[in-house]
Structure formats: structure tokens, C-alpha cells
Symmetry: C2
Subunit: 129 residues, 2 copies
């Protein structure tokens, strides 16, 4: 059972404001952890440039273990004005596709992932600038 969202001064309605913030989660294959770490410690310049061109800013990925399983958590900010088009430009980019062929076998999609998505977007319940 999911409780209803509650919005207020310190939990603005999503989409309000200039910057959109995204928190997401996905599983990590323990066999692939080292490869995932290596890839992300020195991510390809072609891929980080494409992220920047798609207005992705202040992008962190964290790792943790919960109940014996590994998970990745990401936080980033989107500063553009057409999120769908900017994400599509990434999906159409051959270098990003090549990157995803390396990273996706490391990841384990979660059952509550949206159709067509890879990471599961989380709901925000608090924000303080």
C-alpha cells in the first residue's frame, strides 16, 4: 500500500521551479561490481559530453548493500526545457549505446521500473535548497 504524496513548503509539487531533480535506484550484479566501478571511475568523455549536452548536471551515483543485495542510487539535476527530447538524443547517440552495452549487463532492473525505463525513479518527499 502506498501512502499519498503530501506537498508543502519543503516538498514542492514536481515540475515546479527551473531545475528538475531525479533520484533513481537499480540493482547491481555483484559479479559485475568491479567492472561497473572501473567504467564509472573514468567514464568515457564521449558519454559525459552527451550527458552535459542533454542538460544533466550534478550527477552522482552511490552504491550500497541492503538485505544482502547490492543497489545503485543516482541523483542528478536536469536544467533543460525538453526532457523527453534530451533523453531521446542520448538514446540515439551511438557512443551512449556503446556505453549502455557495457553498463546494462551490470545492472539488475527492479520490478517497479516503469515500462521502457532502466532505472526506477523514486518519489521525492522533501527538498531544502
Amino acid at each position: 500500500m502506498t501512502e499519498k504524496a503530501i506537498y508543502g513548503d519543503t516538498n514542492p509539487v514536481p515540475g515546479a521551479g527551473d531545475v528538475k531533480r531525479f533520484g533513481s535506484v537499480i540493482g547491481l550484479s555483484p559479479q559485475m561490481e568491479q567492472h561497473y566501478r572501473e567504467l564509472h571511475a573514468n567514464a568515457w568523455e564521449s558519454v559525459t559530453r552527451r550527458l552535459t549536452e542533454s542538460y544533466i548536471r550534478n550527477y552522482s551515483i552511490y552504491i550500497t548493500e541492503l538485505a544482502g543485495k547490492k543497489y545503485l542510487f543516482s541523483y542528478f539535476e536536469y536544467t533543460g526545457s525538453d526532457f523527453e527530447a534530451d533523453m531521446q538524443a542520448m538514446a540515439d547517440d551511438p557512443e551512449t549505446q556503446r556505453w549502455w552495452r557495457e553498463t546494462r549487463p551490470c545492472q539488475i532492473q527492479l520490478p517497479n521500473c516503469a515500462p521502457g525505463a532502466n532505472w526506477t525513479e523514486m518519489e521525492c518527499l522533501f527538498y531544502l535548497p
Copy 2:
């Protein structure tokens, strides 16, 4: 088994740079979810002011469900120069203590939480400005 950290251009050594970023996780009691949401949609001004005075910026809390359990994820940036002292100032603040008496019964500490800590800090493996 935990793989070793790998640092590089897109995963700087922690502590390098001016701003320190923190990603953390904690369990959420499903019975207390609504109360936690209510508190955080309109967090007390005394508490958000104390956070700001302790140089906590760009602070988001997300909620998700993983393998049938509720979790909270937080991301914030610390822009001060004495993290321990700034956290202690929060811990010593009567209003923050009153807030924690409301929020802590909602949270479920995880086994890999550091001694004396409440949230479990996650390790960063990627950062793109």
C-alpha cells in the same frame, strides 16, 4: 564481499573539492510513512534554518520500496569547513532534537549504519559536475 573503491576523472577522491556530497539510506516504518510525509512536506522552519546554518544545501529525501520494504534515500551538499562541528551544532539544538523525536520512530536503522549514526552513508562511485 566489497570490491575496492576506484577513483578517477569521474570519481574524485572523497574530500577533494569545495562541496562535499552525501548520499544516505535508512529504512522507513510503513506504519509511520504518512506521518513522515506530513512532517517533511512542511518541515519546521526552526529545523530548516538550523540545517542552513550548518551549511547543508540542496537537500532531497526520496522514498522507494525494495523487495517489499520501504526505504528513504537522502542527498545533500555540505558547503562548510568543519563538518563535525556543524553536525554537533545540529545535535545540540533543542528544536532539532524535538524534530528527531518525531522522525526517528518513523525510521528503521540499517545494520550497516556507522556507530552513533542514524542514516547509513553510501559510497560514491561516479560524479559529473
